[in-house]
Amino acid sequence: MSSSAATSSIDHHHDHTTTTGIPNKKLLMWAFLASDCMFFGSLISTHLIYRLHPPPGTPSPRDVFDIPLTSFSTFILLMSSLMMALAVNAIQKGNLRSMRFSLLTTVFFGAIFLGCQVFEFTHFISEKHLTITNSILGTTFFTLTGTHGTHVAIGVLWLIMMYVRSFKPADTTSHRFWFLRNLLHVAAVVGLVLSAMFTVLAIVATLETGGTAGSFASHNFALVAAFVVTLVASVILARPSGPVQFSEANAIDVESMGLYWHFVDIVWIVIFTAVYLLEYL
């Protein structure tokens, strides 16, 4: 891994155009995250305050929560954070392929996390009869975790866009349709992630209800088809087509995105403890 030629010319920790040497984007992101602390702080406070004084008849979270599942998704989110860190590491060394791989893995883990959340929500609603309207617990729980989930979803979208952006040709003049291709590419990967997620959810549902492979296929034909199509499209569109613009100079973009992603992860660290684990004491 020892230094490639490119590495030495770029110092990731210093930007000569700024007074402090910290790149503007990084500073912006840190300031935003400081703000986001207050955002989630208020939301988590709301939840805890209501947990402090639940009205009579509130369902016990212990009867609702599913700690193994949540632990699993917590673990997944941690791993996605790892992949994110590796992606930044890779692009800082100019290793585009490795970065793309890491980004995709991050997306993959992020999607699993979201899938778990979708599964969790539907379970809570349909089996535990906890909805956003029928109790204060449901209200604060779904709003808090849902807002976090939205942050994850935005992160996934951002990751996908960054991934696709890394294919932007260096010389846009000779690729008249690069932007169209770029758009298609984003659509394909987003579609892939969504269809994959829902396919897996459908498989799980089939398993739970004791369905067979046949019944699964007949019920979810469109979903599977979408999965296959977007998969193929994503692979085709990801074929290399000449030099690209993306380079170490873009490391700061990936890094800022990474900061966001890690932050979403640490918010979950807090939620996991404060919202889930504390209920079991």
Partner: protein, 645 residues
């Protein structure tokens, strides 16, 4: 400058690369399009200012209607509902649409000039903030023209009065979503200012050399960034309750309406310092200039500003002394609130110290600045009276509070902003307001203001509650109310004079000389109005009051400047960012989405959301590109490497 930076600009090749049409970069420098797509911080600031002044007049007219209704007991000018709408919109408009954006206007126009920067750190984000602010303002005010009416739940919107059960029309939804958008705009702008101040300072401009106004911009931006999320969450909760039937404030399912108050005031108290700190910054610029000596005790003034900002987060419950918090909490918040008087007093003392021994030039900005000190002091003292919780139990929600906060908001913020407008007018517009008319407007405003609001202290102590559309004639409130209304008319006349003179000056006023007031900070080193690129050569700062130093060390500075100019040219000239249409598109998406959310209409909300997303995506794909400027000896652009136009 190293290679990485240059790669963002298109100078590498002589011909701009062919691009898909959607990446068309507007190049107009005049006309409507130029204003809609501009990323120039001065133009953006100017628009902020313009919108803010319009809303100041709107809010003022609402205030006049309030005062006319209360002129005599049992008046029937307004119905109860109209009156309630009036004070709600008056408060909301004045705070969010007048004073805050006026502050933003100064941040935008003045702050980059004071630190020797060519623009803010994220010019397009800046445009997005402006347009999102406009979108929020539209949603907030659109109710006037719709059958549902404008919001009427008070500017503090206490739950559960804002719930569907008690406010079934869309008026409250307008309020919720309007504020939500204003919050987004404010946070985005504040983040931008934070990065700009920290990262775009000219060489030598250390933090302890920053002009105090810039320091206050920084502190204010931190307050915005850290306090708005609380109201964002609170508004989300109200919105969820209204739109999706959740239980945040639904008592029958265990909701606690008091939670809204906490979240609101966690935002709300820092908010009032968001309104006053820029004002204090302006005053800290004007007093030294017009006394011709540096600010007394600069470090301690700066530090006290930061201390006020920090303490501002620890006192929110002083608005809730009557909510039965229990003795310990009440005592804690009471003491914390009193503590704020110390750093604030420090500022007052240092301002007087600045005046002491100076050559005071009694021009209009100076008059407003001195008026500020007097009036703010009175407002601060009534604040301290509120801080004594048991006494506040009698004052809370009475006209005593109204008197307190108008003294700090008008006698404080507005006086300082009016001072600032007069002070920087020569720089930004290149014309200077007549001293006679300026002073006249000051005296009329000053007298009118005191006649309006001083009697309100007595009204409050005599038990007149606020937010009441009528009162009976036997309560002993008639005289004071009558005088107060007369005062408001005088005050209105004063503001009328002020703006008439301003408009006249804008078109026909006397031309200002360069460095009109013998200024001390860098913005005065520029020609008026400042060119698009601000600084021909980024200045090097050697001392606090950088321009004052320059004026007294001219040779040294001239030598330095010449060297740096050569360096700049060697690097390809001054680089300027392209204009962009996408911030406007994104904000428009937010506006549409906001309407969709108000009317709970999924399609419209989705359309708006997609527009927003598309705007942001294209914005990121078009990239932070720009072009290079080369200047001749007079500072006129001679050659523009941006080929196409």
């Amino acid at each position: 400058m190293d290679a990485t930076v240059k790669s963002h600009f298109t100078t590498k090749d002589e011909h701009a690369p062919a691009k898909p049409l959607i990446f068309w970069r507007p190049t107009a420098k005049t006309g409507l399009i130029s204003w809609l797509t501009t990323v120039d911080h001065k133009k953006i600031g100017f628009m902020y200012g313009l919108f803010a002044l319009v809303f100041l007049l709107v809010g003022g007219c609402e205030a006049l209607l309030i005062r006319l209704q209360l002129m005599v007991p049992n008046n029937t000018l307004l119905t109860a509902q109209q009156y309630n709408t009036m004070f709600t919109m008056h408060g909301t408009t004045m705070i969010f649409l007048a004073v805050m954006p006026l502050g933003a206007a100064f941040f935008n126009i003045i702050m980059p000039l004071q630190i020797g920067a060519r623009d803010v750190a994220f010019p397009r984000l800046n445009a997005f903030s402006l347009w999102t602010f406009v979108a929020g303002a539209i949603i907030l005010n659109v109710g006037w023209f719709l059958p549902d009416g404008a919001p009427d739940a008070g500017w503090v919107g206490y739950a559960p009065l804002t719930s569907r059960a008690y406010n079934p029309t869309h008026a409250t939804d307008f309020w919720v979503l309007g504020l939500q958008l204003l919050g987004v705009a404010s946070i985005a702008a504040a983040l931008n200012f934070i990065v700009t101040i920290i990262n775009l300072r000219a060489p030598g401009m250390t933090m302890m050399r920053l002009p105090v106004f810039t320091w206050m911009t920084l502190v204010t931006s931190f307050l915005i960034v850290l306090s708005f999320p609380a109201i964002t969450i609170a508004l989300v909760e109200v919105m969820m309750d209204r739109q999706f039937g959740t239980n945040f404030f639904e008592v029958s399912n265990g909701g606690m309406p008091i939670l809204w108050q906490h979240l609101f005031w966690i935002f709300g108290h820092p908010e009032v310092y968001i309104l006053i700190l820029p004002a204090m910054g302006i005053i800290s610029e004007i007093l030294p200039t017009f006394s011709r000596k540096p600010l007394f005790g600069y470090p301690i003034v700066v530090f006290s500003g930061a201390a006020i900002g920090f303490l501002g987060f620890t006192v929110w419950s002083h608005h809730m002394f009557t909510t039965g918090m229990g003795t310990v909490a009440t005592a804690a918040f009471s003491l914390a609130t009193m503590a704020i008087a110390v750093p604030t007093g420090v500022k007052i003392f240092n301002w007087i110290g600045t005046l002491w021994g100076g050559h005071l030039k009694m021009r209009t900005p100076m008059m407003f600045a001195l008026g500020f000190i007097w009036m703010f002091m009175i407002g601060g003292f009534s604040g301290v009276m509120h801080a004594a919780a048991p006494a506040d139990a009698q004052q809370h929600d009475s006209y005593f509070v109204i008197a307190h906060f108008h003294y700090v908001l008008i006698g404080g913020s507005i006086f300082a902003l009016l001072a600032g407008i007069q002070y920087w007018f020569p720089l930004v517009v290149g014309r200077v307001v007549s001293d006679f008319w300026g002073k006249l407007s000051f005296w009329v405003i000053f007298v009118g203001f005191n006649v309006t609001f001083f009697p309100m202290h007595f009204l409050g102590l005599n038990g007149m509650p606020r937010r009441t559309f009528t009162y009976d004639g036997n309560m002993g409130w008639n005289t004071a109310n009558y005088i107060s209304t007369i005062g408001a008319l005088i005050l209105g006349t004063g503001i009328g004079i002020y703006f008439t003179v301003m408009i006249y000056t804008f078109f026909k006023g006397q031309k200002a000389t360069r460095d009109n007031w013998d200024g001390r900070t860098l913005e005065w080193s520029l020609p008026n109005p400042p060119p698009e690129y601000n600084f021909r050569v980024i200045p090097t700062v050697h001392a606090r009051d950088a321009y004052w130093y320059e004026k007294h060390h001219q040779e040294e500075i001239a030598r330095e400047t010449a060297e740096h100019a050569k360096d700049d040219e060697a690097h390809g000239g001054i680089h300027m960012p392209f204009s962009s249409i996408y911030p406007l598109v994104a904000s428009f998406g937010a506006l549409v989405g906001g309407f969709g959310a108000v009317y709970h209409n999924l399609e419209i909300a989705l359309i708006g959301g997609s527009l927003l997303l598309a705007g942001v995506y294209l914005w990121s794909m078009e990239g932070a590109e720009g072009y290079h400027l080369h200047l001749d000896a007079d500072g006129n652009p001679v050659e523009d490497t941006h080929a196409k136009h």
